[in-house]
Amino acid sequence: NAGVTQTPKFRILKIGQSMTLQCTQDMNHNYMYWYRQDPGMGLKLIYYSVGAGITDKGEVPNGYNVSRSTTEDFPLRLELAAPSQTSVYFCASTRDSGVLEQYFGPGTRLTVT
């Protein structure tokens, strides 16, 4: 199993551009999450999904959108990128609410200039 994979690893965007961060897991996990990590701030939840077709907002959803058309994939869309979205983005997954451990991907480092 590859676990949780994320692409790209790095990206530089200009203000106002859009992009999609990809996340795929091969563990047949139902629950998936997007977090952002800023220096000295820990990880904050952007969006989560408890299954295909079901998504919900986390603590910091503004400026982002998600979709979940399959169990494996959970892409994060940035529309009209802003410097405040410069961050490291992590995707994570877990089988369901009865399983406690979340598995994290390697992250995508995004810079908006």
């Binding site: 629950y31 000295g40 820990g42 990880l43 979340q102 994290f104």
Partner: protein, 113 residues
């Protein structure tokens, strides 16, 4: 309001010493308290975790101490090694839809040889 408060922000320990990182929480609905370890350029990985019905859990050199009445928990790393140098995050989970983790801000540990 920060739901999980972590201290210290950074920590320098001599090789062979004990590293102690503390966390405090307010929400009594939290039902799971993990510690994640993150090396530079990598995603967080689960190190050790505890449920609130247990006061201590030990795995090798890593121990979680949990004080339910004080709403505090801590990570102790015995015989700290240079390879333990990393950022450590405490977290808490509320058993509700999504079951996402709420993270502390992180502690950067440096173990000097």
């Amino acid at each position: 309001q920060q739901q999980v408060k972590q201290s210290p922000q950074s920590l320098i320990v001599q090789k062979g010493g004990i590293s102690i990182i503390n966390c405090a929480y307010e929400n009594t609905a939290f039902d799971y308290f993990p510690w994640y370890q993150q090396f530079p350029g990598k995603g967080p990985a689960l190190l050790i975790a505890i449920r609130p019905d247990v006061s201590e859990k030990k795995e090798g050199r890593f121990t979680i101490s949990f004080n339910k009445s004080a709403k505090q928990f801590s990570l102790h790393i015995m015989d700290s090694q240079p390879g333990d140098s990393a950022t450590y995050f405490c977290a808490a989970r509320e058993d509700q839809a999504g079951t996402a983790l709420i993270f502390g801000k992180g502690t950067t540990l440096s173990v000097s040889s």
